[in-house]
Amino acid sequence: MAPRVSNNKFQKNRSRRRAVKSKTSVGMQLLMTAAVALPGLAIPSTSSAQAASEDASVSIGYLDYSESRPNGIGVQSPTIFFKIPLSHRTEIEGGFTYDSVSGASGYNVGKAKSQEVATPAPAPTIAPTTLQTAQPACRAFRINTLAAASQPTPAPAPAPAPTPKPKPTTPSSTPTIVPTVVSTGGGSSRPTSISNLPYCNPPVSRPTPVAPVAPAPSPAPQPPVVDDHDDHDDREEHGDRDEHEKDEHERSERGLRALDSDREVDTLGGASAGSLSDTRLAGDLKITHYLDTFSVGGGVSLSHENDYDSLGLSLEGRTWTDDKNTTFALGLSTSLDQVGSSIDPSLSETKNSQSIFAGVTQVLSANNILQSNLMFTTIAGFLTDPYLEWDFRPDSRQSLAWLTRFNHYIESQDGSIHLDYRLYNDSWGIMSHMVETALYQPLFPGVMIRPSVRYYMQNSADFYQYAGFQPAADQFFSADQRLSAFGGVTTGLKLIIELGAGFSGSLSYDYLMQSSDLALIGKSADGGRDDLNMQFFYLELTKRF
């Protein structure tokens, strides 16, 4: 893309590191820009900027996301982002996003085996004597490991061993299976925090633990026979979803819990409150102050959904070598989240995370630049998905992500090629690989095209199970398909246009395919992922001042 030519800021000299702009010579301007501040000046936020932006900019974006399947979710997300230099050393940036989610799909919940479980035939991995009739459309039970969870403030429960499948414990500390019946009034007595989770129906029959555990709790207090019709009635109690009953029923048939929320299904925007729509509001603000040899920045972010609130704080420092060929970044962040449920107003749990980030950006040559980042994150608190039937996760997770990015300038084309690779590993046993490449190819002056391909692959979490699996009483399990082994391929095309007068625009289209077949390693033996195709359009307009 052609460098932007300033027309009224000749030798404004707001900073000795600033570029001196010239109407007369784009080349000279470019050269000087490069010479005094690299990499990052006059470039939107990167983790390697070494000076405040010289211009203010405002971007307006609009994302339209949809899934290529019946009843898939859709997201419309207008967003705004600004960056304003307050002085030659200080800049402020922030944004605001409004996600509007509609539709629902059950793809997140474990598939396949659930259909079998719904039949009298036992699931293959479960001894027939221990297999109870798993009415799939019902959150039949929840395992309670929080013996002292009736504390006034439900602090994050003591983290279990990272091993997701704990050994059977002694009877005294054995988690109890707590059958709970959903109360539409929300006022039922709920003994502990985790067992407070909503249940769409009483347990059909209490599962017999596979592992040797304490004497099983008494059966459910509600009539044990629950069929689809009952489930249907139960859903009616939750609100006016008549128009969705057919879909709900279909999902029940598949072994998914009948659910009045798209949240179970993972949405971009998050949960919904009793309907097939939801919103998410998110905003953030960051201030960065630049000095000669380093910079410091602090940021705050907030988001709100019907059933999820988040407050994030971050600190970032950067320093660079005298020749500015190497930039080091160090960041710390914390996030204090509140987890709720739109189908159980009494659910109120915390989820806190801390991250440490370290990165280096290195100019390799006149045409090559490389960045490598390590990021360690630890999350503690309520990590179970409150909308999933088959979900009981450890209450802590540690992860390490290593991202390396390489950009090469193609002199003959005045374009560039980007290559990113990320390796990830966490305490839940998931390892993932992500590789992405993009080509920036000028078509005409002021017009650039950017084709891209991204491949992602992960193996399954140690405790991933298909829906309908009957776990031991103290066993972690999740049927969230995002924790299964799968792969995904995204192909995208973006058009970038300089519109003049400080305006630029872009339009992009991406098609994302996810499938268990796309995982090259670590495929789940049971209940892999449903194939899911998604697409998203993104339109953006930027004005620089």
Binding site: S47, E316, F357, W402, Y409, S506, Y538
Partner: protein, 70 residues
Amino acid sequence: MKFISCACLSIALLLSACSPVQPWQKGNLAKSHMSFEPAALEARQRQHIYFSKEGTNGGYGVGGGGCGCN
């Protein structure tokens, strides 16, 4: 640990193997599309999608809001 060692080794090799690039040689690197995030806002939206659709995330930096979508 192996993970970290590998990363550190790579970075060390990276730092030692370069001949210094002079300021006047950086014109190409200064172009906007040579930035690691030429479109910060779009990158943010894109990461948000992957965050909600994949089992893992991270590595791009600190900051950003939480979401109940994962």
